[in-house]
């Protein structure tokens, strides 16, 4: 559930619970109030009862006074009490109306007083007017006392009942008050506990995850870019940690890229210093001959034949310098894509044999064997450039097998390509250097192994072969030897009826 909804639902639930408990408290208080009201009404009932009793007393006293004295003052009093009685009785009846028992008693009381007036009081006054003695007779007097006594008993009964009710109501009011206080205290405790729980929930659900993220951010700021946070909890927190993690990841990625670029820069720096070293070495060797011989020729005199030989050496070494310069320029041309290839049909077969013969003459310790399929290997391309690649592979085979051995050349047709391979039994290439062998100026351990060279031959060869639409590769085992090969697309026979003879540099 989203955190926002959790907080909203939690707050709403808390509000409902608090409202509910206060509702219960209100009900308890209203119970208490109605108990108090009932108590008040009990007092009213008592007052009304006493009022009725007062009127009844008035009736009794004034009736007896009139019968004994015949004074009109008592008669007026009687008449007064008689008019007061219905309203007093009615008020009592109204007050006790909710209590059926009391109501019945009040109705009985009203009937008894009415009967007293109509069946006894009023006839007694009429009798008095005719025969006063008769009205004062003991029979008539006893009848009146009897009736009044019954009415007083009824009044006492009503009061006693009302008193019982009032006592019960007071007890109920006390009980309600205790209950209300109990509920109030319980609600306070429950509300406080719920507030604490809600606070804990907020701390657990919001504050703690925010702290975790803040701690992660501090770690990242301190440089630990590998910091990742667990993506868990509410969706908003997951979003936050996800965003944090992807930020850390992109920072880390950026740093790695920078490091990689740095490494590349360092590598190209190393390559540059390697290049300076290589150029220096390759140029210094022929220069040592040229300057050394010319200096001796200037300072000393030699026989005619020696002199001529030394000048020849100077000339040859001068030529070597020129080829070195050409080789460097070649790399520039190939790299800039300015290499111009002729496109003419060439038969590789004679080229392979002629070039091998040339290298054989310069490598007396090596045995060069050429095995070419007895058919023409006709490709479209630049004979000089392809001869350059092949000569480079042969020269490498000789150079990197200083102890001599077999150099095996093969020219085969494989499907629609011509494949040329030069295999030697030399020192081979260490596995860790193999991936970079075609990189210009890369020489692996060649320098440490005492092998002169510029590190350009294979780089240029690859450019030439790829410019011909072919492939170049090798396999090598350190200590056993290497086999370099290149493949060129064969020219279909119908397009090459008569191949031009291959030219050899």
């Amino acid at each position: 559930m989203p955190l926002l909804r959790r907080v909203v639902v939690g707050s709403a639930a808390l509000a409902v619970i608090v409202a509910g408990t206060f509702g219960v408290l209100l009900v308890a208080m209203s119970d208490l109030r109605s108990s108090t009201n009932a108590q008040a009404r009990s007092k009213d009932v008592s007052t009304a009862t006493l009022n009725v009793e007062r009127v009844v007393n008035e009736l009794d006293v004034s009736l007896r006074g009139f019968v004994i004295s015949g004074s009109p003052r008592f008669l007026a009093s009687w008449q007064q009490a008689r008019t007061e009685l219905p309203s007093a009785a009615a008020q009592l009846e109204r007050l006790v109306a909710p209590q059926p028992e009391e109501k019945r008693k009040a109705i009985d009381l009203a009937t008894m007083t009415r009967d007293y007036i109509q069946d006894y009081g009023a006839p007694l006054i009429a009798i008095y007017r005719l025969r006063p003695e008769a009205a004062r007779s003991p029979v008539a007097t006893r009848e009146g006392l009897f009736r009044i006594d019954a009415i007083r008993k009824q009044l006492a009964n009503l009061l006693a009942g009302e008193n019982d009710l009032a006592t019960a109501r007071e007890a109920s009011a006390k009980h309600e008050a205790t209950r209300a206080v109990g509920i109030g205290v319980a609600e306070l405790v429950v509300t406080a506990a719920l507030l604490v729980l809600f606070g804990l929930f907020l701390a657990h659900g919001v504050v703690r995850p925010v702290r975790t993220v803040a701690a992660g951010a501090s770690r990242v700021a301190a440089g630990d870019l590998s910091t990742r946070l667990p993506e868990q909890g509410a969706p908003e927190l997951q979003e936050l940690t996800e965003a944090f993690n992807s930020m850390a990841q992109s920072l880390e990625h950026g740093q790695r890229e920078l490091e990689a670029q740095n490494e590349q820069l360092r590598q190209s720096e190393r390559m540059k210093s390697e290049l300076v070293s290589i150029v220096s070495h390759e140029l210094r060797t022929p220069l040592a001959s040229i300057l050394g011989y010319s200096s001796l020729l200037l300072k000393r005199s030699f026989g005619k034949e020696d002199t001529r030989r030394y000048i020849e050496t100077i000339h040859t070494q001068g030529g070597r310098l020129v080829s070195l310069v050409e080789e460097f320029l070649d790399v520039e041309r190939v790299e800039a894509g300015r290499i111009e290839l002729k496109e003419e049909p060439i038969d590789l077969r004679p080229l392979l044999e002629e070039e091998a013969q040339l290298i054989s003459a310069e490598a007396p310790r090596h045995q060069v064997e050429v095995g070419v399929e007895p058919v023409s290997l006709i490709v479209l391309g630049d004979a000089d450039r392809l001869a350059q690649v092949y000569a480079n592979l042969l020269a490498n085979a000789v150079k990197y097998s200083p102890d001599g051995g077999l150099i095996e050349v093969s020219g085969t047709i494989e499907g629609d390509v011509a494949r040329v391979q030069v295999r030697d039994e030399g020192v081979g290439i260490a596995a860790e250097h193999q991936p970079r062998i075609f990189t210009k100026f890369f020489r692996g351990e060649a320098r440490e192994g005492g092998f002169a060279g510029t590190g350009l031959g294979l780089a240029v060869s690859r450019e030439i072969i790829e410019a011909h639409g072919g492939r170049i590769g090798f396999r090598s085992t350190p200590g056993t030897g290497s086999a370099f090969w290149f493949e060129l697309p064969l020219l279909p026979n119908d397009k090459a009826p008569k191949p031009a003879p291959a030219r050899v540099a």
């Binding site: 050394g292 030699f302 020696d306 070494q317 005492g450 092998f451 002169a452």
Partner: protein, 124 residues
């Protein structure tokens, strides 16, 4: 007294000849075109002076130097490293390996001659 023997270790033939004619005096000469050959000749010929190229096929000239310095019987052998690698670190590497002197290519033939004479004289 027999003439001092000079062992020339250099893969470039024209430079071997240049060193030989630079020295002019009546030394005895032996020549090696690679490191393995040089090591074999050091042991058999017991040269007084070795002129040593660093970059040779089949191993660095410094491996020849190590071989010489590793054999107590050859402790009097004088070694001059002549290298086309002329940076300070190449110079230092030769010195650390026990070379008596270091010449960089291109070298002055007369400087080579006087250097060899001086080394031989100081040894005697």
């Amino acid at each position: 007294m027999r003439a001092p023997t000079i062992l020339i270790c250099e893969d470039e033939p024209s430079l071997r000849e240049l060193m030989r004619i630079s020295l002019r005096s009546d030394y005895a000469f032996a020549e090696a075109a690679d490191a393995a050959e040089a090591i074999a000749l050091v042991d058999t010929v017991r040269p007084d002076v070795v002129l040593l190229d660093v970059m040779m096929p089949g191993g660095s000239g410094l491996s020849v130097l190590e071989h010489v310095r590793g054999n107590p019987e050859l402790r009097d052998t004088l070694v001059v490293v002549i290298s086309a690698f002329a940076a300070d670190r190449d110079h230092r590497a030769a010195h650390d390996a026990g070379a008596n002197s270091f010449l960089k290519k291109p070298f002055d033939p007369e400087e080579l001659e006087s250097l060899v004479e001086q080394l031989l004289a100081s040894r005697n």
